[in-house]
Symmetry: C2
Subunit: 439 residues, 2 copies
């Protein structure tokens, strides 16, 4: 796999560049916008994720010898265009919503300004990152809101492509998960990692007791023992016998969880292990977590449902040319017109209207204004500006990238969730919790 | 992103290795098996994909300085275990189904044999690759079977994580797609790439006619012109005026496709462009493709639905310890026993029973036998052996990796599809088209 992001690109982007270089339109200053026409069916809000990853990938978007040689051999573009690609790096501007921000239909999440050629070429990359990461974050946020403060760990790496898994761990953490099983997510993004043992570890040993002894020997009694390989009741008894009443936690990965958790809690208490926690991890999604609210569960581990967006594995964002500069230097809004797949043309700015109780009431999208921040809305404290300057002349704002960007995004999401109307957190299907108004 | 695959791993795999090294059980020879307990709900067959990618990733699975430093800093394992990891490379055996093979519940798709420590550590990687790639291939195969020989291109990169997109293009191609829009999939795996222009290219220009002229200038009249940016009828007329009746194709990306395709075909014929093809690309899945069977459509482009497994973005495979060697050297089957999530323990071999009409009738899984190939079934030509030796002493069989492996997998899939009972290709929900029998 190449280190460059330049071929994570649909062929048509390069053929468009090729044709536009030939007729000179490639250099027209253009503004592309990534947005979602709608939220996943029935969801009340979305959570932006991927922005920090995207900025890093855009900075690394270069055509090296391997990439150019492939394009030459396949005759994807003319030789003159290969020379242009060899010199390519993005030198434009990117504005957008902070990572971790809530979003609604039409929210201008990422706005890319540059020549047509330099901005169109990023289409696939922008969408791949935002569509997947925001799908995970949107699902994860729902799980966090129904977990009622109990910690949740992301354990779905095995249910996602090996590299998606790293992005999923990152997006889930931004959305409020507390840890991940994925080690690369720990190394690359500074996310806390967790995990102790699988059923195979018990089956490897001659008895469950041997397995528990080995684990406690290596990891101490504060570890989490998996008690459901054979008989759960016997497993709990063995676990406490081996680790003592100071056993950190037991994990249950099967069975009817509310019933099993109640029985295990009672049994642990009988055995004196009153501080031993119970972690459950069997095919959980937001609905299963909600149904465990009154069960004596201390922590959740979530796999498949979070890394696959809980039914919506892509967030449905599109990347559209919304404006280009005319010959007089003025911006001209453009939009496809033929069908229901319409977009609102024009440069945009956005703010969220907040009422006196600090509750969000409306997503305001200002058509015709350029993107901007604090200044535009300083006069009105009921308007929270949503667009920040993410990249200037091809250089990412350091606040949004790397592990620090992840921490900032997670903190921002926590604040934003406080601001959403309470109906946002109902699991049932409904409309976006605030309307989007174009001005 | 690291070049090694070693941290695409759940933390518990390393803590299990740590504990098992401490009590000596790490060296017990073990056999892990990847299989699916069931097919995605209502599907009649699955298609194995990812095997070739997996073999390459296993060969590259090494802990370098960056990875070891992270594990040391995080105190994931003891120092002695770090030394063991520093020396790690997989030196064991892998057998399994050929990539492109059909599979059913319980089919032993990948079998990994080695010490417990060297085999358990691959758990997440094996599952990440097989679960995603097979999810895509299973969905893609259904689309191919209802396309009735019309070519299908994979165009879903923007709806999947940027690196998943490359794997998705590969899996779809193995399942019978003809091309991809993803350039990295072309470079890395030798898959034909395609694509011409988006709506933004038309909107960039002062008129649709200018845009078409620019594209034809750069790519010749054999190109595909996107005709639905404004009015489709006017778009078709402009396209033929600009490119001539030798225009290669028009693409339609919106509207009620059966109606629109019929109108466009009639219009093209009126204009004398009788050989100009029609490509459609708007939110297609297997059901939409099937409903276009009688429409005058020449080619399909499929995005979201194929890269997200058309409703099932993970194939549901698990990786279980099924046998380990006892102190007497004999294999002992093992399996979790507590709940409904049961597995069948023991080493396994597999063959498909084929009747006199060359139709598959039964998936036979031989429990207790080791995996093997031709020899075991040579005496009975009604049994097609399913397991091949994919990796020996840590080295992949060259026939299964790289672009050549992809071509072989695609060819194998085409043969296997011929062999499935015709009911396999019904889109409606049903049972697996052949039963799995354990012997």
């Amino acid at each position: 796999m190449t280190g460059s992001a330049a071929l994570f690109t649909d062929r048509y982007e390069l053929t468009m560049v090729d044709a536009a270089l030939l007729d000179g339109t490639a250099h027209r200053e253009s503004l592309f916008e990534a947005f979602a026409r709608r939220l996943p069916d029935g969801r009340r809000y979305g959570v932006v994720a991927g922005t920090g990853r995207l900025l890093e990938l855009v900075e690394r978007f270069r055509f090296g010898d391997d990439e150019l040689e492939f394009l030459r051999a396949e005759r994807v573009v003319r030789d003159e265009t290969l020379d242009w690609l060899a010199d390519y790096r993005f030198r434009g501007e990117i504005w957008g919503y902070r990572e971790g921000e809530a979003y609604f239909p039409g929210s201008p999440l990422v706005t890319v300004q540059g020549s047509f050629a330099e901005a169109v070429i990023l289409e696939t990359l922008v969408l791949s990152v935002l569509n997947y990461d925001s799908a995970v974050a949107g699902a994860a946020a729902r799980m966090v809101s129904v977990a009622l403060g109990r910690p949740i760990a992301e354990m779905g790496s095995r249910r996602a492509n090996e590299r998606s898994a790293v992005a999923a761990a990152r997006a889930a953490y931004i959305a409020g998960f507390d840890a991940t099983s994925n080690l690369e997510a720990g190394r690359r993004w500074g996310i806390p990692t967790m995990g102790t043992a699988a059923h195979s570890f018990t089956l490897l040993h001659d008895s469950e007791e041997d397995a528990f002894r080995a684990q406690v020997e290596a990891m101490g009694p504060g570890t989490t023992l998996l008690v459901d390989t054979y008989d759960i009741r016997a497993g709990v008894e063995t676990a406490v016998r081996v680790a003592g009443t100071g056993l950190g936690a037991v994990r249950i990965d099967s069975g009817d969880l509310p019933t099993v958790a109640a029985a295990v809690r009672e049994h642990l208490d009988e055995l004196g292990a009153v501080n031993t926690r119970i972690t459950v991890t069997s095919d959980l999604d937001e609905h299963a977590i909600a149904s465990l609210a009154s069960a004596p569960v201390d922590a959740y581990g979530v796999g498949t449902s979070v890394v696959t967006g809980s039914g919506f594995p892509a967030a449905g964002m599109v990347y559209k040319l919304v404006a280009r500069r005319g010959e007089d230097g003025a911006w001209v809004g453009v939009a496809k017109a033929s069908t229901s797949k319409t977009s609102v043309g024009g440069r945009k700015n956005a703010a969220r209207r907040i009422d006196a109780t600090r509750t969000a009431r409306e997503e305001l999208v200002y058509v015709g204004d350029g993107p901007g921040g604090e200044d535009e809305f300083a006069a009105d404290d009921r308007l929270r500006p949503l667009m920040v300057h993410l990249m200037h002349e091809g250089e990412a704002d350091a606040a949004h990238v790397g592990p620090a960007g992840v921490r900032a995004a997670r903190a921002h999401r926590a604040e934003v969730m406080q601001e959403l109307p309470i109906e946002a957190f109902r699991l049932g299907r409904g409309e976006p919790v605030i309307p989007t108004t174009y001005r």
